[in-house]
């Protein structure tokens, strides 16, 4: 298959995926544990709360959730794509560079310290998780940079990520064991990943950051294509591998840190969605990245809708649904399209 990707084809694919994403979001916004009548909801907010509950539920509760799920799903899927390309490892997911344990450590420190201030409408847990994630990635990068040299740098980075993850996970375990019971429960709940309603300001800021990050990652996609051939090949073809790697890591870490600070650690999306999209649309990153973002967003929106309706009035953590739903679906795709991908031969 040597069909070339033209701008027109890319634009059409992107457009259709965007329509699909918006349709999925709209559909999931009207599904929930309470019946909401659309006509009443669109007649606008009432003067006193409690008069137009359809509006409040749809616009005040469900819409922020759906938007957040789409943002987080897009961010995680994009990171997965980028890291799998740069690290040349099909098992790379957004948390491989220590982000998960760094964010978890930040979160548990925030819970234990019992702070009540908030920053830009985000809770202290979110801010600490964000800072923790970024510091950890910087630490892993330093270790990888100092210890590795040239060819083995990627391997050293992966190993450094694994070691830092393990160390911080042990610290998290220790802190969890000495915490009060409701603090422990809060932390574990946060670590399982969940989508909640956030305020408008938080949603706007994170949307701007995540979308800007994804778009900037899109600009290096053609270099990622070349990078997947290997460092030496890429250098021979004139790609500045060091700069590309640094840009990719920095942006991926940034948007994953934002996603994690908003919703905790939601696994599976960053690992499986890039593979699934690659199986169907091919490995060209200029198409893979935007489509993965859309599909990742749609996937998480659907998973969150299932998570909040299936055992009503309780809610499951989203991570449970992503794993249960994603696994078999991916196996089906794998069986059907495995001829296209060279890794699997």
């Amino acid at each position: 298959m040597t069909e070339t990707l033209t701008s027109k084809k890319l634009a059409i694919t992107f457009f259709f995926c965007l329509i699909a994403l918006v349709a999925v979001m709209a559909l999931c916004a009207v599904v929930g544990t309470q019946k909401v009548s659309l006509a009443k909801a669109f007649s606008g907010p009432a003067d006193t709360p409690g008069k137009n509950i359809d509006y409040e539920i749809l616009i005040g509760v469900r819409l922020p959730r759906v938007i957040l799920a789409a943002l987080v799903g897009a961010a995680l899927a994009c990171c997965g794509v980028v890291l799998q390309a740069v690290l040349r490892n099909p098992l790379a997911d957004p948390y491989i560079l220590g982000i998960s344990s760094g964010a978890g450590l930040g979160a548990i420190i925030a819970v234990l310290s019992g702070l009540t201030w908030s920053f830009w409408g985000g809770s202290p847990i979110a801010v600490f998780a964000f800072i923790g994630a970024l510091i950890t990635v910087w630490l892993v990068w330093c270790i990888g940079y100092l210890a590795g040299a040239g060819k083995s740098q990627v391997t050293t980075l992966l190993l450094a990520g694994v070691v830092v993850n393990a160390f911080f996970a042990a610290v998290i375990m220790f802190l969890t064991s000495i915490a009060k019971s409701d603090q422990v429960h809060s932390t574990i709940f946060w670590l399982m990943g969940n989508i909640t309603e956030k305020s408008q300001s938080v949603l706007w800021v994170s949307a701007a950051c995540i979308i800007a990050g994804i778009m900037t990652l899109f600009t290096i996609c053609h270099r990622l294509n070349v990078l997947t051939f290997g460092q030496d090949q890429a250098k021979a073809l004139g790609v500045d591998t060091a700069a590309t790697q640094i840009t990719a890591f920095a942006l991926a870490a940034f948007i994953t840190a934002i996603a994690v600070s908003l919703s905790g650690l939601i696994g599976f999306v960053g690992l499986i969605v890039p593979h699934a999209v690659r199986l169907v649309f091919g490995p060209d990153h200029r198409r893979l990245l935007p489509v993965s973002a859309m599909i990742g967003g749609a996937f998480l929106v659907v998973a969150d809708t299932i998570a909040r309706t299936i055992v009503a009035p309780a809610q499951l953590p989203v991570g449970v649904i992503t794993a249960i739903a994603g696994g078999p679906f991916f196996l089906i795709l794998l069986a059907k399209y495995s001829r296209k991908v060279s890794w699997l031969k």
Partner: protein
Amino acid sequence: MKKFSILLLPIVVVAGFIVISRYQKLLSLPTDEEQVKQPLISTQKSRDKTTRANKPQRIVSLAPNITEILFALGLDKEIVAVSSDSDFPAGATNKKKVGTFWQPNTEAVIASKPDLVITLWFEQQNQVAETLKRLDYPVLTLKIEKIEELLTAIQEIGVATGSSQRAERLAKEISTQLNDLQSKFDSGYKVKVLWVVQPEPLRVAGRNTFVNKLIELAGGENAIGQTIQQYPPISTEELLACGAETIIQTAMGTADTSEQQKAAEKFWSRWKTLPAVVNNRIYVVPPDTVLRLGPRLCQGIKLIANCLHPNENI
């Protein structure tokens, strides 16, 4: 591809402008710190309180101990929805449910059209409280982790629901009963108690828990010394050295405890040197009066006291 990147650059710049303009708007919004200093009933905008009736008619409670307090204040008709683990008194089980204590369902809360929502202060319920405040629902958030906080909370609920006199009476009743119990057991031998939270792996309640406070009020002493953890797992060595004279275990669930009692006695019988096993002072107690900080606190303390001093009439 270069054309693409040039196209995207202005979009990124515009996004940046949006962020900056939001930042300027955000600077003028009150931070959460200021909101915490305001009275605990808060909505996003400050509404004219006189337009709203002083006595809320539709109250939603998101915790079982809050439900018990509301019923004790005689507000059973005003309660429209409770969390699913509110099981006392019997009237609470007939109310509409809005999710569990750990995960309240915001949509269900809104669908019950409340004019007062009472929550506890911890992360998951805080998030629901924030969402409800954004939608202009009056929310009362309480911190009930100690006995003094329970008494303050009862009074705050009284003020919020327009039943301050009954609340004062209830708080006074509870505190008088507590003082009576305390003075009864103040002097006299303190029975060594091991409060088991989980038998396998063995986890007990340590000294800086509120369960410890109940034990002390009932005339006992925790067999375990000071630990950094609130609910420490302890080793067998430590268990044999602690010399516990009574072992109290909380039952799982509220079903019949006699089977759990037999299982517990069997479990503990392997450590024949413990004074509690020798004298067969092993008790399995139902958790809702002792682990819930609510109006039935004194009942819970009496229950513990009966376990500690089985020969006395309490």
